[in-house]
Symmetry: C2
Subunit: 414 residues, 2 copies
Amino acid sequence: MSILKGAAIFGQSGGPTSVINSSAAGVITEALKQDCITKVYGMAHGIRGALDEQFYDMSKEDPKQFELMKTTPSSALGSVRYKLAKAEDDETDYLRLLEVFKKYDIRYFFYNGGNDSMDTCNKISKFMQKSGYEMRVMGVPKTIDNDLFGTDHCPGYGSAAKYIATSTMEVYHDARVYDKGMITILEIMGRNAGWLAASASIASWKGCGPDLIYLPEKAFDMEDFLNKVEAIYKKNKNCIVAVSEGIKDKDGKYISEYGSDLAQSKDAFGHSQLGGLAVTLANFCKNRTGAKVRGIEFSLLQRCAAHCGSKNDVDEAFLSGQEAVKAAVSGITDHMVAFERDMSSGSYVCKTKLLNLSEVANTEKTVPLSWIKNDDTGLTQDFIDYVLPLIQGESKPPMVDGVPQFAKLKKVLV
Amino acid sequence: MSILKGAAIFGQSGGPTSVINSSAAGVITEALKQDCITKVYGMAHGIRGALDEQFYDMSKEDPKQFELMKTTPSSALGSVRYKLAKAEDDETDYLRLLEVFKKYDIRYFFYNGGNDSMDTCNKISKFMQKSGYEMRVMGVPKTIDNDLFGTDHCPGYGSAAKYIATSTMEVYHDARVYDKGMITILEIMGRNAGWLAASASIASWKGCGPDLIYLPEKAFDMEDFLNKVEAIYKKNKNCIVAVSEGIKDKDGKYISEYGSDLAQSKDAFGHSQLGGLAVTLANFCKNRTGAKVRGIEFSLLQRCAAHCGSKNDVDEAFLSGQEAVKAAVSGITDHMVAFERDMSSGSYVCKTKLLNLSEVANTEKTVPLSWIKNDDTGLTQDFIDYVLPLIQGESKPPMVDGVPQFAKLKKVLV
């Protein structure tokens, strides 16, 4: 192994989670400890900050803030959705990055995000290799969607799943108090992978969850859905349904587009901006049954509820950041830190491993079809066994004046 | 004082809260202790259960469940929205109640709810007095809206305020991560009183809250709102606004009806069913600024989030239930338990007092106009000083398997 001396730069990218700052704290505190890392920079708004030479000197921060970051939701350094062109098509951004890296002698690049961010990370890694610029590039996983390939699970998912399960149990109690009954539709994030909506089945497993759960992994049939809702409503007076925002019919049309008058715009990655699904489905149910209906969208709440975090998730997020730095310092590059579960002791232990960035980039891991019950009533015990360890332990920020205390960085620009 | 021997009946009414079951536990456990109370019944779905002779024998429950009820959201016995006719107009329901009360020798009537429920309670009390049927009728306050007259605050408000402040601080962090900026509209419950939306100002006071807050106490002007949002967005790239669902323009038209295509139905009390305000305002902001926008409705989540409860609120809710029973047993009738704050020791102490039911019924307490800042940026320090004691202390259910354990009553029908 060769010792590589130079500065490190770290960035956060994509949709934030309630634990992405825990990963950041893991990377930053570990990098600050390393003798071979001369400076630790934090990119303002991910790769955008590197391109624009907008980055912060992390050694200027009070170390207490790194401790608070473990329980501060969202991306403290700012995030970005910026897709790098393929280097074959347009080298502009890559040449600019190379220029910045050389100027500040940046030799370590850590990037924290999901599929799209690992794509960015992979492209940069390959370009720098090709250019002969010695650099260690490591991905740190993050996504509430839990859809990264090759890892048992992703930091951010456990806390979001815990929040969704908890809130669903609470709404279950609220949504069935009246003698008149109600149909409630819970809209949960998840474009192509239904891991988040699946977590509502924890509530059902506890006896107070949705009657029906729909994931994007299976084509959605409106008529079949309405028949099922009507039957449950007639029998029980109440019906609760959890749906992934990304459910589509057999022709690939988003259900949120059925009768939704919301403008369908696309983001920088070409994803449709979804929304209004809960209200759309609630209206269909009202038309069919005449019932009182309510559509509830967990919206941003599900990905920033640090007050209801999973301790396991927060700890693992920190660990993944630390491990990325340790691996890079030990000579490894072009990889992402991933998790594997070890049950050999009889209880859950989370271990890290490394995956090639090219393997991870742009590959989505969806919920196994065999874990989705055929009758749409939820997930099988296999899923429950999978998810439970990820939501264990209570994590919340320190409370001051009855509300959370969150990290506040000085963000001293270099 | 005369000892009145007989059965007690208790009911929950109106929209549930995360602490109404704590009040129920207070009433039930205290009533079960009293020698003069021969039986303790719980009405299924409030007054509907009394009319239909559908009530549960609370002595059949495992006492452990009463402990769990303190942290179980919503109305464990079921709630109802049923408006009693004026006795002068139609005595049917009252005569039926009298019949049921006589049949079961029910001499204690405890009713837990907000304005409408205190109206019910008051009407029953007055009718029984007129009929010469000896009965002690006591109201137990409850409403997240905090709009009951004559009491410093209402059980349920503190926990909802804590949840709203916490979630708003979290959303604040999430809603400003991107370099492109966003306008976020938070829709908070509150038809005529803005206490709940006001609690979002705790987040602003902490430095991570809404830029603008609109309560129903002040007429809303769309043009002025859009001008302010546009100015803030241009300056900061981000703008967060908290609004009460019930905001109206100077002509009394609900803002949610501006361009909202949602069916406007009315509930049994003649209130308009509101909804879609966040999306409506977000669309107005998008049209004006071209910004990315997001409307977030806290919906039922804000009133059932027992996992983020205020310990003070939970304890006070329990206390108000206990005190209602103690007062009734001591000979008092026709009153509601209320709170007053005692700051004479230098710190907050919550004491109970009793209010005449006729004073409380149908009178709404709104936020003092002098507490609302003229420039719509939030609430004054007076409000912060008022609200802070109400959100102190952490209450959450016991956690099993990483999610809350909630009470489950046997509900043995009499």
